[in-house]
Symmetry: C2
Subunit: 331 residues, 2 copies
C-alpha cells in the first residue's frame, strides 16, 4: 500500500475535528523531572471524548466522508475496546446510526459505554464472528465500516495528538507512543516529521505481544495466532496493517516492554499525574525511560498517554503489589 | 471563639495565593448528568499543588504572615497526611525551612513526598508524640506552627476553592464538601454565603467517624477516642476545632456516609472523571446524590473533590469488588 500522507493532511484533520473533540491537557510532574533530570510532557488522551485518543480518528473519518459528499446512512465497526466507543460516540455526534459488533468477553464497562453513546451493540461469541458480521454488514452500499487503524483518515485523526501537543509545548527531542495496530504511531510520525526532521519518533509494545517488533525485524507483517496475555489491552492487536506498517518502518526506535514494567509505570503515572492511566499508556513511559538513559545532556520529550478506560478486574491486577515504594531514580 | 470572616477575607486570600497555587479544573461527566438528571460540577483539587486543597490554606497562612511582617524563621506542623505535604511545599515555596512531625504509620507515599518538598521529617512512634513535639518546637519565638484547620487564614485559603469554582461556573444551588476538621467546609460556607444567601452548603463525613455530626446534634464539640476505621483518611480527624465548629453550625445539611458508599463513588468518579479520586472526595458525591433525590426540578451543584493522594494499600481495598456493573441510576 503506497500511502503518502503529509503534515498538511494532519492539519486538515485537526481543523475538521476542532470543536468536536477535546483539546486534551499537557501534564507534567516536577518530581519526575527532578528525579530523571529531563523534561517530560504527557499528552493526556484519557481526557479525550470517550476517554481515549480513538475519538479523533473516528471523528475525522466521518467528517471527511461528509466533506466529500459520501455521507453513509449507517456506520459499523468491530472492536472489543476503545474503537467501539469511538465510533459509537462519533456517529452519534453526527446523528448517523451505528452498529458495533463486540465479542461478548469485552469489558462490561466498554459495552455499557458503547450503548450509552447510542450505538446498537451486537454481542458475538467470538472475535471471528464479530469480524464476519461486520464484513457482511459493510457490503450494504449505504453502510460504511470504520476500521480501527488501517485507514488513512483514521491515521490522520490520531496524528492530531502529536500536532496539538507540539503546537502547545513547541518542538521536542523525541515523541513516544504505544503500538497496537500502529495508527497512533503512524499519525505521530507524519506530524512530527512534518514539523522537524530532527524529532525522534519511538514506539513501544508489550513484549508478550510483540508482533510489530517481529514484523520490523523480519520486514514483513507477522501475525499473532491468538490474543496476547498482556495488561496493555490497547496493544493486543494481532497484526499491524499494510498502511501503518509502511509508517512504522520509518520509526527511529522500537521497545518491547515487560508486564512488570507496565504495572510499575501505570502505578507511578497514576500517582504522579493524579489521573487514570490505562496500562497501554505505560508503554511509552518505559520506552522513554530506557531511551533517556542512553542520551547525553538534558532532553525534552513528549509521551502520548493513550487513554483512561480500565475495568475493575484490570485495576485490581495493577494494584496488587506496591511499586510506589521504589522511586524511579532507584531503578 | 468569635470568628467573623467574610467573603472579602476569602477574596484577599485568593489574591494572596494566585500564581502560587494552581487554578484547578472543573470537571463534569455528561453520562452522570444524563443518568441523574441534574448538572454536577466537580472542582478537582487532586490537580492542586501537592495533590490536595490543603496547599491553599498553608500557602495563604504563610503569605499572610509575610504581608503582616511576621515572617518566622521556621515552620512546624504535625500531620500524617496532606497537611504535612502542604506545609512542606508552601514553606519551600517561600524559602523558609520547615520541620514536619509525622506518626511513623503515615503512608510511605506521603512521607516520601513531604521529604521531596524539602522539609525535615521527624517520624514519631505515636500521634501523641508528634503533637507533643510540635507544641514544644512552636514555643521558640522564631518558629510558627501552622495548624491543619483551626486557624482563620487556613480557613480563608480553603475557601478559595468554592470562590474560584463559582467565579468560573457561576452560582449553583448547592455546594458539597467533606468534613475532616472543618476547614474546607468553613471556607466554603463563608465564600458561598458571601456570594448569595440562596446557596445551600452541605457537609459529609464517614459514618464510621461521625464526630462532627454528633457535635452538631449535641451542640458541643465531641471528640473520638481513637482514629476511626474509614477509608476516607482525610476525614479521620478526632474532633473539629472551636473556630470551625461555629461555621459548621451554619451548614444547611450534613450527611453521614457508609464505607460501602465511599467505595462505590470512589470507583465511579475515578471511572467517569478519569482522575485519581481519594476516598474522602466520595463523601460529597454521596451527600449530593441523596440530597438531589429529595429536590423538585433540575438542580446545578458543585462538589469539591478534596484530593488525589492514595497509597497502594488503600487503592487495593477500593478495587476489591466491582461497583462499575451497577450504574448510579440503578441505586
Amino acid at each position: 500500500m503506497n500511502s503518502t500522507l503529509e503534515l498538511k493532511d494532519i492539519i486538515n484533520a485537526k481543523s475538521r475535528i476542532s470543536g468536536l473533540v477535546n483539546e486534551t491537557p499537557i501534564l507534567t510532574s516536577s518530581l519526575l523531572n527532578t528525579w530523571l533530570g529531563h523534561t517530560i510532557y504527557f499528552k493526556a488522551e484519557g481526557f479525550q471524548k470517550i476517554g481515549a485518543f480513538k475519538a479523533r480518528g473516528a471523528c475525522n473519518t466521518i467528517a471527511w466522508l461528509i466533506e466529500n459528499h459520501h455521507t453513509p446512512k449507517h456506520f459499523v465497526a468491530n472492536s472489543s475496546g476503545n474503537h467501539a466507543q469511538a465510533v459509537a460516540w462519533a456517529a452519534n455526534r453526527f446523528d448517523i446510526p451505528a452498529t458495533i459488533y463486540m465479542p461478548d468477553y469485552s469489558s462490561k464497562v466498554k459495552i455499557q459505554a458503547t450503548k450509552a453513546y447510542g450505538a446498537q451493540v451486537i454481542l458475538c461469541e467470538t472475535r471471528q464472528e464479530a469480524d464476519d458480521l461486520v464484513k457482511r454488514a459493510s457490503e450494504n452500499p449505504d453502510t460504511y465500516w470504520i476500521p480501527p487503524y488501517n485507514h488513512e483518515q483514521v491515521i490522520c485523526g490520531q496524528g492530531t495528538v502529536a500536532l496539538e501537543a507540539m503546537n502547545s509545548i513547541g518542538e521536542v527531542d523525541a515523541v513516544f507512543g504505544p503500538c497496537g495496530g500502529g495508527g497512533l504511531l503512524s499519525g505521530s510520525l507524519i506530524a512530527s516529521r512534518g514539523l522537524s526532521k530532527n524529532i525522534k519518533v519511538i514506539g513501544a509494545e508489550p513484549l508478550a505481544g510483540n508482533d510489530a517488533a517481529e514484523s520490523l525485524r523480519k520486514n514483513s507483517i507477522q501475525r499473532l495466532s491468538s490474543a496476547p496475555n498482556t495488561l496493555a489491552d490497547g496493544a493486543m492487536t494481532l497484526a499491524v496493517g499494510d498502511i501503518t506498517f509502511e509508517y512504522l518502518k520509518q520509526l527511529d526506535d522500537f521497545y518491547e516492554i515487560t508486564e512488570d514494567t507496565i504495572i510499575y509505570w501505570t502505578q507511578w503515572l497514576t500517582h504522579l499525574l493524579k489521573s487514570r492511566i490505562e496500562p497501554t499508556s505505560a508503554l511509552g513511559m518505559e520506552a522513554a525511560f530506557q531511551w533517556l538513559q542512553k542520551q547525553k545532556g538534558k532532553k525534552t520529550v513528549l509521551i502520548i498517554l493513550s487513554g483512561a478506560n480500565i475495568d475493575q478486574a484490570t485495576t485490581n491486577k495493577i494494584w496488587q503489589n506496591d511499586c510506589l515504594t521504589t522511586e524511579p531514580f532507584k531503578l
